[in-house]
């Protein structure tokens, strides 16, 4: 996979769209590239480039520099002259709970994504064909997505209290109550609430993928007498591959990114099982006031996550241009 050559990977992505026959235009577009390269008005990138430099590159470099200093509450006032400590913060971050936090973040994000993908796809398929009330169902499906994370977390926290509505119902059903917001169960609570709030994102992307299936393809398969399963397996799902790969990546990043949900659900200090990466960086920065250490934590996490992410991007070819054709 890692050594995927361009033609192989190209085939992989082109395959779903094989029906319309997109393989043709590719060599032609390659030929004109040198010409267009020469004529590209690169200067038009300057405004964006300047903006990127100021809002990403320079702060990032300052962040790297901060990670090499002992910047804390005592040195904050003269932050430019904070003592340089080399890699000490990086070494400390490894013993300050960062590896566990990365593991929790990654596993939580991947599990959440894996569960939300089938839910989102199923919801998209259910609302694909026209029927009475479809608009209403589509609107209802979007409710978890449009609610602010803070609201979602507050409502769930209230429901999951030891004497909250969920435990009351579980007791009535004879199942017995659970300690949702503490201990190791907190991890599964976080995943549960995240799934509840995040599946409509997959649903939206899957729906957009479904709508890109040409009606001729549906007609052709109907004429050929394809039943629903072959139609789903060989026509619809291949069309969804691209949007779902993107959805998988973005959703996983969103899960890892989510600070509001664990913070509002569990508070700080949080149970150890939900000390996700954004929480540990936040607590180190804004409760312990160790900015140097937290910057190092952020950068270590960045590097550790960037490696598999890069491999994944290469594998699903999201970092290159779409092939020719539609």
């Amino acid at each position: 996979m890692s050594s995927a050559t361009a033609p192989e990977a190209g085939q992989g992505v082109a395959a779903p769209a094989a029906a319309p026959g997109p393989a043709g235009p590719r060599p032609a577009s390659k030929k004109v590239k040198p010409l267009s390269k020469r004529q590209r008005p690169l200067w038009m990138l300057i405004p964006g480039g300047v903006l990127m430099t100021f809002i990403i590159v320079i702060p990032f470099l300052i962040g790297v520099w901060i990670s090499l200093t002992d910047l804390d509450q005592y040195t904050l006032r003269r932050w430019l002259s904070a003592p340089f400590v080399g890699l000490a913060n990086y070494v400390e971050s490894l013993s300050a709970g960062l590896p566990a936090a990365i593991w929790i973040s990654l596993s939580f994000a991947i599990i959440s994504t894996i569960v939300t993908v089938p839910i989102g796809v199923a919801a998209a398929i259910v609302t694909q064909n026209k029927y009475k009330g479809r608009a209403l169902i589509r609107a209802i499906f979007l409710i978890p997505y449009v609610l602010p994370s803070f609201v979602v977390a507050t409502v769930w926290r209230t429901m999951l209290q030891p004497d909250g509505i969920v435990n009351i119902l579980l007791n009535k059903a004879g199942i017995g109550d659970q300690l949702w917001l503490s201990g190791s169960t907190a991890y599964w609570t976080l995943i549960l609430v995240e799934i509840w709030a995040a599946w409509p994102f997959i649903y939206l992307l899957a729906l957009s993928g479904l709508q890109s299936v040409d009606s001729e393809v549906h007609e052709a398969s109907a004429l050929d007498g394809a039943s629903w399963w072959p139609k789903l397996r060989y026509i619809v799902l291949p069309y969804l591959k691209g949007p779902l790969a993107l959805a998988f990546l973005l959703a996983t990043l969103n899960h890892i990114n989510n600070f509001t949900l664990p913070f509002v659900l569990f508070g700080a200090p949080a149970p150890e099982s939900v000390n996700v990466m954004p929480m540990i960086v936040y607590v180190t920065s804004f409760q312990s006031l160790r900015f140097g250490l937290s910057a190092a934590m952020a950068i270590v996490s960045l590097i550790i996550i960037a490696i598999p992410l890069f491999i994944y991007l290469r594998a699903v070819r999201l970092d290159v241009h779409e092939e020719g054709g539609k």
Binding site: I56, P59, I62, Q161, S182, Q287
Partner: protein, 450 residues
């Protein structure tokens, strides 16, 4: 992920970047003229103060009336900015400290004063400043206990006091044949057991609160002679602290004198249970609970008493133990070192701490005055006597920049013990291990303290 961390790193970096930009704009130091009546004309004083969620409209009105008074006095305009949480305030202090620009006057929670002191961003009070404030002697002496590490290095000017006490249900105690509230922690535990009947529990405890747990741990430890941080040594693994946690957990696990649901409660939820008559005692509350209780089902049945000052396992204060009824709690105000209007700021703080505003502030918000004259006037009110006594018997938490981390570490012991509490017991080994983790965190914070 990359986005997350990129963003985190970029956010940290942005603070620095903004600082460079703002530092370029702000000129350095220099106190303004000012001091006399119209010196403030045309000037604006920025004040940063906690948002009062209990009395939002009253607070707005108070802002306006106080601004008007100050304008009449000095000609200066006061602009108020509020913060909703300690984290908001911290972020504001951070950005202001880094950029050298921001509010002139900050109101800080007392236990946050050491952290603010650590930044070195606030004016150290010399004789000149005390004179401008109307003299150090105008304050209740105990309230100055958390203004700085030593009398020569004070930054915090006391503004109001909120000592902790316990509320109790007179009827429930009477029905159980208890004629006066407990004065030792053991007695409280015993009484709580007696008072627990059916769905009424002896104690309302907020195990899930972000602050309550460490206050119990501190209160029981300090009365046993352990201040938790002694110079450069953290003492969270001391037997006195372990005994404190054991007692605190034991009310639920051994005595069954606490509602099992309280493992999910915040302080407000515990107050709600007490106000519904579902608990006989509500330890760890302040006078700010009075408005809620006065509107509740038990409005004529409750009273306040001092928290026990005899540590668990003892019948009298042991030698070395401190007779601490409460942490030194309330608000201090500090004047930013970067302020261009320092003289005006001190004039303003003088006005806040003079009897007129102190009396008014107590009447509106229920925060006790720190002005000695105003405080003395309250002593004659029997209902308030317990608060003035608690205020006088308040002891400051250790004045170190490491206190923030220590507080979190103490609370974390309870956070991580909640699953065990729900199962009915916290084993000795688990408690020891959690205290060892807390000790490590606190000691490492103490070691870094400068």
């Amino acid at each position: 992920m990359v986005h997350t961390t990129m963003r985190s790193v970029a956010a940290l970096g942005s603070v620095g970047l903004v600082a460079v930009a703002l530092a370029a704009c702000s000129s350095s130091g220099g106190t303004s003229s000012g001091g006399d009546t119209n010196a403030g004309a045309g000037k604006t004083l920025n004040v940063y103060i906690g948002n009062n969620s209990q009395y939002p409209t009253e607070q707005k009105a108070w802002f306006e009336s106080t601004s008007a008074k100050f304008k009449a006095q000095t000609g200066a305009t006061v602009t108020w900015e509020t913060f909703a949480s300690a984290n908001d305030e911290l972020t504001k202090i951070q950005t202001s400290v880094v950029s050298g620009q921001g509010p002139d006057v900050y109101s800080l929670g007392t236990t946050f004063t050491p952290t603010a002191y650590g930044t070195g961003a606030f004016v150290k009070l010399t004789d000149k400043e005390w004179t401008a404030l109307g003299g150090k002697e105008k304050f209740v002496p105990a309230t100055l206990g958390i203004s700085g590490p030593d009398p020569a290095n004070l930054v915090g000017i006391p503004f109001n006091s909120r000592p902790f006490v316990m509320a109790y249900n007179k009827d429930l105690l009477k029905a159980a044949g208890i004629d006066k509230p407990a004065t030792t922690w053991d007695e409280l535990g015993q009484q709580a057991k007696t008072l627990t009947k059916g769905d009424v529990f002896g104690l309302a405890i907020a195990y899930k609160d972000g602050f309550d747990p460490w206050k119990f741990a501190w209160g029981m430890s300090i009365t046993a002679g352990n201040p938790l941080i002694d110079g450069k040594t953290a003492k969270l693994d001391d037997p006195t602290t372990k005994k404190a946690y054991d007692t605190y957990f034991g009310w639920l696990t051994r005595d069954k004198a606490v509602d099992p649901a309280s493992i999910g409660w915040s302080n407000a939820q515990a107050l709600a249970a007490f106000s519904q008559g579902k608990a006989a005692y509500f330890p760890m509350t302040t006078y700010t609970s009075a408005p809620t209780l006065d509107k509740s089902a038990i409005k004529d049945k409750y009273a306040y008493a001092l928290l026990p000052t005899v540590p668990p396992g003892a019948t009298s204060l042991p030698s070395g133990g401190k007779d601490a009824a409460s942490i030194l709690s309330g608000d201090n105000v500090v004047v930013a070192d970067y302020s261009q209007n320092k003289d005006l700021a001190f004039q303003f703080v003088k006005m806040l701490t003079d009897p007129a505003i102190q009396d008014e502030y107590f009447k509106i918000f229920g925060n006790l005055p720190v002005n000695a004259q105003s405080a003395a006037a309250l002593k004659s009110d029997p209902k308030l006597a317990v608060f003035t006594e608690a205020s006088a018997k308040s002891v400051a938490t250790p004045f170190t920049g490491a206190w923030g981390d220590t507080q979190v570490a103490l609370t974390n012991v309870v956070v991580q013990s909640i699953p065990d509490l729900s199962k009915g017991s916290v084993s000795d080994a688990d408690l020891t291990a959690r205290l060892a983790t807390a000790q490590k965190a606190a000691q490492s914070a103490v070691d870094r303290a400068k």
